[in-house]
């Protein structure tokens, strides 16, 4: 998928679009904001959605693009250290809250984080290297001393957040650790149940945006970042389940 988007992006149809590398989990609000931006400024925007690490690799090898919006601040920090993004205009957009997601009716009767270690459950966790949520779920389990106890229940480690949702909605697993916003996604509606994780046990991430250092139009990149963090844009983030205030 990403390869085809890259192909289309590199063909340079009509006006050269602003190229935005964006975490796949942010697709719903970003699609809306992209359309709003295009309407307001008349500049076409090309979105490339993929896992945060995959996008990092694309920017590092291709040395192009204008804006980088990964699923966690760690990626922009690393990109800053490697010189792939610039500090100027780098900002936090909203929060990303890990939650436990179960299929409709919660067949595994999971009420809290500790329940994930119950024998015989089928759990899916995202791949820790490929997806931000994978790394975070390992960290949450480790922080609460549950990693070793939950591991035997883990039946698969898919590399994207979307796979987690499909497996939950179709009742292939009893629970997954996913981002809260995924439950508000339209296709998840009514098919999944959110079990919150206590804030003291949780690790809440910030979603950052940064201008890519190889951008040939840095003003427009900063303008795009300002646009997606404006008060109107914050309503859009909230609508899709991304809190703009840090959860208590």
């Amino acid at each position: 998928m990403a390869v085809f988007l890259m192909l289309f992006a590199s063909l340079g149809w009509a006006e050269e679009p602003l190229l935005v590398y964006c975490g796949a989990g942010l697709m719903k609000p970003m699609d809306e904001l992209k359309a709003a931006y295009e309407e307001e400024f008349g500049t076409p925007v090309q979105m490339i959605y993929a896992g945060s690490g995959e996008l990092f690799g694309m920017i590092a090898t291709r040395k192009n693009g204008d804006v980088y919006i990964p699923g966690a601040a760690k990626y922009t920090q690393d990109a800053l250290e490697k010189g792939h993004v610039v500090k100027e205009g780098m900002t936090d957009i909203c929060y990303h809250v890990p939650i436990i997601l179960t299929p409709k009716g919660n067949p595994g009767n999971i009420q809290c984080l500790e329940d994930l270690s119950r024998e015989g459950l089928r759990i899916a966790l995202a791949d820790a290297k490929a997806a931000a949520i994978g790394k975070v779920s390992s960290q949450i389990l480790e922080k609460n001393g549950l990693l070793e106890k939950v591991n035997p229940n883990v039946v698969t480690r898919p590399s994207t957040v979307n796979q987690l949702l499909i497996y939950t909605a179709t009742e292939q697993v009893d629970a997954v650790i996913a981002w809260e916003d995924q439950a508000t996604w339209a296709q998840g509606k009514g098919k999944v149940v959110i079990i919150p994780i206590e804030t003291s046990k949780n690790i809440i991430k910030t979603i950052p945006a940064a201008a890519v250092s190889y951008s040939k139009r840095p003003e427009e990149a900063r303008q795009f970042i300002a646009f997606i963090t404006s008060p109107e844009a914050k309503e859009c983030w909230k609508k899709w389940g991304f809190p703009v205030e840090k959860p208590e």
Binding site: G51, G53, G57, K129, P158, Q172
Partner: protein
């Protein structure tokens, strides 16, 4: 003159397209350094992936050939109501994306009556290594069925009739006459099926989950390592896949010549 231009255009298009194909493959092979390829190829992850790909694919090919011989022979030798419909159904998975096939199989094997029955007898297909085999069989079978069907269609039923008039029953006539005559086509079908199994990605990803070092076949290794930003590993798995496909195509061409002769 007109003929010349026509022939030159045909030749030009062919040369340009095949040139780009070769160029793209060569650039993948030449991109990483030799030492990187060697190191990646001998890494634990790659050896696991190669071993898993080969073992699942060989098992899948055996199952696919059982299906292809049965269904191909049935379609070639019998006319019955729904014959055309059956051919369409069997061909259908060739036309839709592997991801769609993966989703369909995910629902069949992981959700609903059939899945519940499987679970009640203790078989968990989804996310297991069996899921890889199931995904490969459903992806590769249509191709093999096509080839086997074509092969049996090309063998006159008269041979079997003669064998049966001399005392063989239908099964023996099939086993001793038609099957040996179809040998070349059957091998060709098996090679195509093997190549499809080795390269099967979307169906395996959805049904088996694509878990590193567990349900990680070669295309999954390529995909995961792109996600990890580990380009040497990704490219090496790509090169290994190209080498295997190349081998399969060469074998197919040799066998195919045999079939034609």
């Amino acid at each position: 003159m007109g003929n010349r231009i026509f022939q030159a255009a045909l030749g030009g298009i062919t040369v340009i397209f095949s040139g780009f194909l070769i160029w793209s493959m060569v650039s993948l092979v030449l991109m990483p350094e030799g030492s990187e390829i060697l190191e990646s190829a001998l890494s634990e992850e790659m050896l696991y992936s190669i071993h898993l790909s080969l073992s699942t694919s060989l098992l899948s090919v055996a199952l696919v050939m059982l299906l292809a011989i049965s269904i191909g022979y049935l379609l070639a030798r019998f006319t019955f109501p729904g014959h055309h419909l059956l051919r369409t159904i069997v061909d259908l998975p060739m036309a839709f994306p592997e991801l769609v096939l993966g989703l369909c199989l995910l629902l069949l094997f992981g959700h609903g009556a059939f899945a519940d029955w499987l679970k009640s007898v203790g078989i968990h297909v989804v996310f297991s290594k069996w899921a890889i085999v199931v995904a490969q069989v459903f992806t590769a079978a249509p191709y093999a069925i096509r080839v086997v069907y074509g092969t049996f269609r090309g063998i006159s039923p008269r041979y079997e009739m003669v064998a049966r008039s001399l005392g063989y029953n239908h099964f023996n006539a099939f086993l001793r006459v038609s099957l040996p005559m179809a040998r070349g086509g059957l091998f060709a079908a098996a090679v195509i099926a093997f190549a499809r199994c080795m390269g099967c990605f979307g169906t395996v990803l959805i049904l088996a989950g694509g878990t590193r070092m567990y349900t990680e076949t070669l295309p999954i290794t390529l995909y995961l390592n792109i996600s990890y930003g580990n380009l040497a590993m990704a490219m090496t798995s790509g090169i290994i896949l190209i080498a295997i496909s190349l081998g399969a195509i060469i074998v197919f061409e040799i066998l195919n010549r045999e079939v034609v002769l």
